[in-house]
Symmetry: C2
Subunit: 116 residues, 2 copies
């Protein structure tokens, strides 16, 4: 697990961690089902507070990339992603963008619709 932090960058540390892990998931460096190191462990290895790593993990969870469970750790989720879904999502995103709806609002709409 290699995570390199650039303190000079404007992007926050937790975001850098999340981005690094997300990239490694996307490129297959970290496999589906694999378990990420405990937040405390990773934090010590890159020299940051464990809360910062935890926040990165929670960001990844909110993006549906990993699953977090107490006592168990962080596990990478495999994305099945049926085809019809992708098409529908693409249309919704395009509609929203052309309507000038911000991403946050769109996500709120999707969540509300999904949970209704």
């Amino acid at each position: 697990m290699f995570v390199l932090i650039d303190p000079a960058t404007a992007t926050p540390v937790f975001a850098q961690i999340a981005e690094s892990i997300a990239t490694q998931i996307a490129t297959g460096t970290i496999a589906t089902g694999e378990r990420l190191p405990a937040a405390k462990v990773l934090a010590e290895s890159i020299g940051v507070n464990f809360h910062t790593v935890l926040r990165a993990y929670q960001e990844l969870r909110n993006d549906g990339q990993i699953e977090l469970r107490r006592g168990r750790g962080a596990v990478v989720i495999g994305a099945p992603t049926a085809n019809g879904v992708r098409v529908a999502v693409a249309r919704a995103a395009a509609e929203a963008k052309s309507a000038g709806i911000p991403i946050g609002t769109l996500l709120a709409l999707v969540r509300k619709e999904y949970e209704s």
Copy 2:
């Protein structure tokens, strides 16, 4: 601004705060464009740490309900929500649900599509 916290409940304090404010936005008790009290002020008024309120605010921002800016505060966003968007979102949500795709993954897909 009335926010009542029940310490006996299992739901976290920050979630209770966010939920309370979301309800007040939904019911019109808090109007669109209105400014929420500063996190520090609200925190003192309900007797919690200001970080907890800040987290509630950030939750509301992630849900597209308010806009946060340093030095400016938290302002309630009005939802324009064009009609075509609602239809597209509803379809995408339905597709995802029938495909068994969890909400987190769906949101990640939407975000990726939107930002591409």
